[in-house]
Homo-oligomer: 259 residues x 2
Amino acid sequence: MVTISPARDNQREEFAIARALRRFFVDQLPPAGAEFTLRGEEAHHLLNVVRVRAGEEVSLFDGSGAVACARLLRGRRGEAALQVLSVGTADVEAARKLTIACALPRSARMDFLVEKCCELGVCRLVPMVTRRSVVDPLARQENHFLRWRRIALEASKQCGRARLMEITAVLPFESALVTREAECAGMIATPAPGPGLAEFAAKLHPGQSVIAFVGPEGGFAPEEVDSAARSGCAAISMGPRILRVETAAVALAACLLLG
Amino acid sequence: MVTISPARDNQREEFAIARALRRFFVDQLPPAGAEFTLRGEEAHHLLNVVRVRAGEEVSLFDGSGAVACARLLRGRRGEAALQVLSVGTADVEAARKLTIACALPRSARMDFLVEKCCELGVCRLVPMVTRRSVVDPLARQENHFLRWRRIALEASKQCGRARLMEITAVLPFESALVTREAECAGMIATPAPGPGLAEFAAKLHPGQSVIAFVGPEGGFAPEEVDSAARSGCAAISMGPRILRVETAAVALAACLLLG
């Protein structure tokens, strides 16, 4: 529907390359001065997509928060030989550690949720099965996990995040509930009237970690809401409109991390 | 990837029908007591998708905030004869009127943006062309508009909203800037450090309307940021990570309407 004109696509490419596409992921950053070889998808991206030339500098990150500046020595047969120039840390994490535990929505909506939560700075994502869940999480779960991890990695490269968002295995709601640590504030999103996000956020200490539970389209079952209340989670109204799983999750992330 | 098992799909259907799919859109609501005929896509949806039977009740809305309860008299040849039982208004709008004016992202991302802004309660959406825009808005603009309107309508039915989000024609940034009314607070999103959303929101009167400008992936050009500042818009930092257009727009909507 929307088309990209060739001239503007070039312009877009310039911006994208300037800021995001020159970041590459490595499993572990070598120390400053070390030479090493990048292989696989990231090397292909560096050599054939972004087309970095020998002598040019790129950024590297390993998902732990550490970043490095490196120079391409040579590229050959899909392998990039790089020298690390300097190593440091990137301070682009949100001040608050937020865990979003949400009922698994259908495929495309989950892809979107992973990307947006990563961009907004969510620390950990817990996909859940609840009483009223509509998605069968056992269908090729391993593939899902790899797909979501790839989406989170691409979003990290795009947005400049140096620490990877953790994505856990799919958990039953009750198991997700007991992962909450004592000092972490808990909330469960509900369509019922009651205290809203602003009231919840106002009671948090600066930097206090939060876990937010988001139900499926049919909502949490009453027993689930009761379990959450007994475990100390506040029931928080998401307003008079019924939000989809991914809308509620992304709205919570925005309000608790940016608002 | 994620598959829906038949049993659970039925369960999902029950929930969906119970709350959202029994809402139908009419151009203008007839008065209480009136009989009228629903035709076209909405009649098809009522008769063949949701399968409402004669004697059953449904909800109607016309996008102005008015809602009605009506009973199906009979369905025949794709036409549904209905009698309006009562007419009222639905109070599910956000307390604040928020206009999101954003650079047009690529097709699928704009579809998502329209759906999420509608669910979160955005009042008006202004797609823009900016200096660094990458999308050619003149490519079949009329089709886009109809597509976005359809997405907003479906999202309204889903989330229970009775007033349709207004979607304007695609405007150049400078034209969008002058649509701001005097009492409406203006802000322009920037990746640069500076005051954040919480500080901006704290200065708003309760219920004060807001217009938020969101730039393309390459950001606003410096002249555009200057124009916005001269017209009284606050430059607001969206944090240290670089957000995509649709992420920034949805995050702003969440923070200013729910946070």
